[in-house]
Point group: C2
Chain length 198, copies 2
């Protein structure tokens, strides 16, 4: 189309959102322009603020606009439980889905030597400092169940052992509501190996 410098630019910019291709971007642009300009303006404002003001929590490294995030600053949460996750999105998901009331530590990745990601990149020194503090009684390893995630959990488990802190791993097995027929073999093997007394 020959028309529309700014319209074209808007459609292209919307493509930077994950899962949004040219067709959806086009639909979004026309929707905002024809039906919801106020929403578009609001989104623009909040986006600019968020991109500039949201940084990382001093203590747990999650995304926050304050120096210490609300979870770390919350005195009602237990100080002796620490959940280690790979990303800030995991904090969000776990806090919405579970009744976990401890604190978090965000690695922002997983050990992956081939990609040059070692303990330094994951803030393991900061985690060690925290474990050395003595307040923590249990560390819950909630990294992903990929090979790298497992290796990272194992690595951090060893560190916890060094400090005589109990390290636990979240359970892996058949998802709730899952039918055995459709579960992949790796998960099923894992579920059998990890069976528990009823």
């Amino acid at each position: 189309m020959q028309n529309a410098g700014l319209l074209k630019e808007l459609i292209q910019s919307l493509c930077c959102l994950p899962g949004v291709g040219p067709k959806s971007a086009q639909r979004m642009a026309f929707h905002l322009l024809q039906r919801n300009r106020d929403g578009g303006r609001q989104l623009s404002l909040v986006l600019a603020q968020a991109m500039d003001k949201i940084g990382y929590c001093r203590d747990c490294r999650t995304l926050t606009e304050t120096e210490v995030c609300e979870i770390c600053a919350n005195r009602l949460r237990e100080d002796d439980l620490l959940c280690v996750v790979e990303s800030a999105a995991d904090v969000w998901v776990i806090d919405q889905a579970t009744s976990f009331k401890g604190k978090y530590f965000v690695l922002h990745g997983r050990l992956s030597p081939l990609d040059g990601i070692g303990p330094d990149e994951l803030g393991i020194d900061k985690l060690e400092q925290r474990l050395a503090g003595g307040a923590i009684k249990e560390i819950i390893l909630a990294t992903n169940s990929t090979i790298e995630g497992q290796a990272t959990a194992h690595f951090i488990g060893e560190i916890a052992n060094k400090f005589n802190i109990r390290a636990t791993r979240i359970a892996h097995g058949v998802p709730m509501g899952g039918e055995l027929e459709f579960i992949d073999s790796g998960t099923l093997a894992h579920a059998f190996a990890g069976r528990r007394e009823v």
Copy 2:
């Protein structure tokens, strides 16, 4: 989650995009914050500009940031062919998909008396002025093939008749690549009624 005022606000604002629910909005927010802050800043800028500067073309009523859109201002396009569409998005789609080289007129809706949308809301007076100008030899009615779209096409066809201008309707029938077995009965009946000599 108790955390994250600004992050929560960002996720809520992203939900104003069509087809984006809380889960996708969450994914978008974390993606932008963790991997593409520049993209987010750029989107914010372009959004603000687009919402403020994009208005409607004086001649054809499509979305444009200039007084007259590029299609109307383009001297290489034919002045005697006018394609009438329901929305600015249709202009974009037709211009990308077809080799149509005439000009457009955007109704921004369709006749729908029950919703209080009559000829005045669709800019029919402006369209009449344009037809009265004498430059137009053919008007192509490309409104949607809904009941209201058909009624609108018929209504504008009558006006064209009044000015002795040829009015055509885009073809309706079986879509290209469509298998008869899966076509709905209305379309199939229409395709039979509208059969042509080969």
